[in-house]
Point group: C2
Chain length 253, copies 2
Amino acid sequence: MTQKQPDAPNLKIQKCAHLPAMHRERRPEVAMLVCPGVTLLDILGPQTVLAPSCNIHLVWKNTHLIETDSGVVLKPALSFSECPHDLDVLLVGGCPLDIFQDAETLQFLADQGSRAKYVTSVCSGSLVLGAAGLLQGYRATSHWSMLKALRLFGATPVEARVVTDRNRVSGGGVTAGIDFGLEVLSQLLGEEIARLTQLAMEYDPAPPFDSGSPKKAGPALAQKVHDWMGPEYAERMAGALAEAAKSMNTSSS
Amino acid sequence: MTQKQPDAPNLKIQKCAHLPAMHRERRPEVAMLVCPGVTLLDILGPQTVLAPSCNIHLVWKNTHLIETDSGVVLKPALSFSECPHDLDVLLVGGCPLDIFQDAETLQFLADQGSRAKYVTSVCSGSLVLGAAGLLQGYRATSHWSMLKALRLFGATPVEARVVTDRNRVSGGGVTAGIDFGLEVLSQLLGEEIARLTQLAMEYDPAPPFDSGSPKKAGPALAQKVHDWMGPEYAERMAGALAEAAKSMNTSSS
């Protein structure tokens, strides 16, 4: 005989009062893909920008707890099947390489992306959109270390902090998600609310060093970023992307 | 008869490969306070900066799931009693007002702060450090809207992105946590690793608008941030802070 188990104590969610709404008319519906190993700040930067004005849903295949790349454990809010059908914004951030062979996720993105008002990415999330067939013929950006790979998916790489091409909006690596979020917010709801949000978040950046791009940091430091990721990482990534590009061309031909 | 309940399915953590280590010698031990309603980006900005080089622990009274100010649900890693005894960094971000009357949490911070190598904050977390008696006679900063309140706790408010006074390091509002994180990382492990991290995170900010401080945004937009928080918020905050300052002076006299 099966009985409903009482919730385990640490499954209890300690609720809080959310931030006040900055926008009280129809709130845009935003779905952000999360997965085990997601680059957390790719998602949380835009999430923080948009949360006071939009309904944001962190979505994954299921709502079990996931661990992110930096070790934080969080709970997706909705499974793919629970995600709203008609999104204002679909957002993908950086994910581990297995996403490129994950047919269920790529199909979810292709389907949602076919209807979403804005199809968007931060960091290497643009490559995931590409693998889902959503960037063919579009200009887009990505993390500096993976920018050129966009060509594999029929996209034109652009070296910029945020790139808008029709309804595709992409941001550069990790921290670009904040600039990206403000840009998307202004496209969704106008410039004043974006400026208000910027002030509320005190987004008046003053990096203590000037090493935020390969041009500014120089080739020695750029090489060290590659070394940090591991000597085999670039090769594994190239393999995963080539495989994804092949699958995409097969399925769309 | 009590039986151990099997774990509920959505308590399962879907693990992932973490980011590679950027620093392989002794990794600094960092505890970041989280609580229901914590301002998530205050924590996740520095967490992203420090995660490849440090051991980071998100700590709270218990490890039940918590909801943050922007609606994300996450799991604290350690309870106060499980937190390492001798920290390299103690970090507090913005928390709801009830933190100022929360004796258990203030006592935890006062105790850890008495030994931590660096006692740090982002956004209004400096006021929480103040309420724990940790900023008397120190210069510090905070979110622009709450900066002057530091005086209540014997601290000297400084309008700056990041303020270092001996082993106290404080950052401004929300997004300042990234600048703060890079500064703390360079103090902990040197400038090169901070530059490397900045490049890996592509932290080359380019806000689409220039409204990140009250001076830049102007008084009308600053008033709108106050209005957004609600007409009674400033008053409730003033009351909570005055009460906390009174308790601190009573207990330390």
